[in-house]
Amino acid sequence: MKKSLICVSCPLGCPIEVEIENGEVISVSGNTCKRGDAYARAEITNPVRSLTTSIKVEDGCHPVVPVKSSGPVPKDKMFECMQVINSATVKAPVKIGDVVIKNILGLGVDIVATNCDCGK
């Protein structure tokens, strides 16, 4: 079976063809870099995405501060992650890179601040 994908690893968006047999990836073509190969294989077996959102800040100069997942999370866990993040609050000051939620849902991925909020 052949499957066509668009690589989302970078803005180039290479069209990739994956050949699958019995649920296993036989070959990947169309990618222009290694990341494309890895993306295509993951997309067939365990699709993942990096998650970016924001989290409430207490005593911040803004009501929220942006965060991202330190690594990709399984695609079907995105909304569960959102629930955890939206029910949490961090206290200012927050710096870029601060871990605001450790090991979310036990996925081995942290939620990290991507901007600073020095507080009021």
């Binding site: 803005p11 990096s50 803004h62």
Partner: protein
Amino acid sequence: MLNYDLVVVGGGPAGMAAALAAKAEGVEKIVILERAETLGGILEQCIHTGFGLHYFGEELSGPEYAGRFIEQVEKTDIDVFTDTMVLNISENNVVTAVNNSEGLMQFQAIAVVLAMGCRERPRGALSIAGSRPAGIMTAGTAQKYVNIDGYMPGKKVVILGSGDIGLIMARRMTLEGAEVKVVCELMPYSGGLTRNIVQCLDDFGIPLRLSCTVVKTHGKERLEGVTIAKVDERLQPIPGTEEYIECDTLLLSVGLIPENELSKDVGVELDRVTSGPVVDEYRETVRPGIFACGNVLQVHDLVDYVTEESQIAGKGAADYIFGKKKGGAFINTKGIDGVRYIVPQRVNIEGEENLKLYFRVGQVYKGAKVVVECDGEILSSRKKVKLAPGEMENVVITPEMLKKMNKNSEIIVRVEE
């Protein structure tokens, strides 16, 4: 009157990169004037990742990308005025600005870098029937509400326009619990990056309707729904194809317009296609000492290219300040046969370094060639898997190519199918 070598108007990625590049060249007195309360520009609200892959070799969010430049600016003696609005640039490069603490200020500059970025096309620029209920806003406005102010502007959303901001906001609103019913695109192709269609729409099962537009809004106090319709080849709505969609929010992602009011006032010539200044390869406008870079010059799809362009402008401004700017014969560049525009519009044929001509095409091409020619001679011809209006392309002009040209030459870039 405050005296500076270089005044940079705008403290987003373009302004910061230009200021830092000029500093690196040894320019002493530099000031950045920024309208918002912090440096960083629009990147501050672009909390998704995808920035910096080319420039830093890693995938950063907007605030992180901006943060790296803010940190560098803070390490230098570049002066920064935030919450400061530039009102005017005079013919002798006096920049007038105003803010709450200092009142009216005047900066005498040797060189000025215009880095004001761009604005979204508002509803008023479209002809959609209906009254003016709450709930209709640009995608960027919604992005600020959600990502900076922390509140959701609506629950049931229709998005008009499939530019990257619209696509990114489709995902963002969905993640925060809204239902994005459809993204309508007037053109037969999306204006956004393909990967954003995959990871922002397909991932969440949001339909993208091409050749489709919003013809009417419903609701008095608050938006209650929109009527969408298919359009024909001339982009006119086709009677009988109307469909009512219930929604409380309509996001518009229908194009960006470089913010050139200041440029026009000082007599900078604008390109009719880009709506940005006409510049030479050093990004100097037709007004001596006034440079332009970033989205005020041409709307970019990647901030990495903004940084690259702005460093050229910063270096150009430095050369101008030190009286080192190369003279020579400047010739025009021209895009034909599908190439909508080229930046820079003017090129010095005595240039000694490789230079890149950036351009966009007017429609989607598959397997077409990009041909560069001058005086009837083909200088380069490269086959491209795909060319799309949403993705900026470039061709390289080498000094060897330039040597063959004279002051009456014209560099032409075209698409050959």
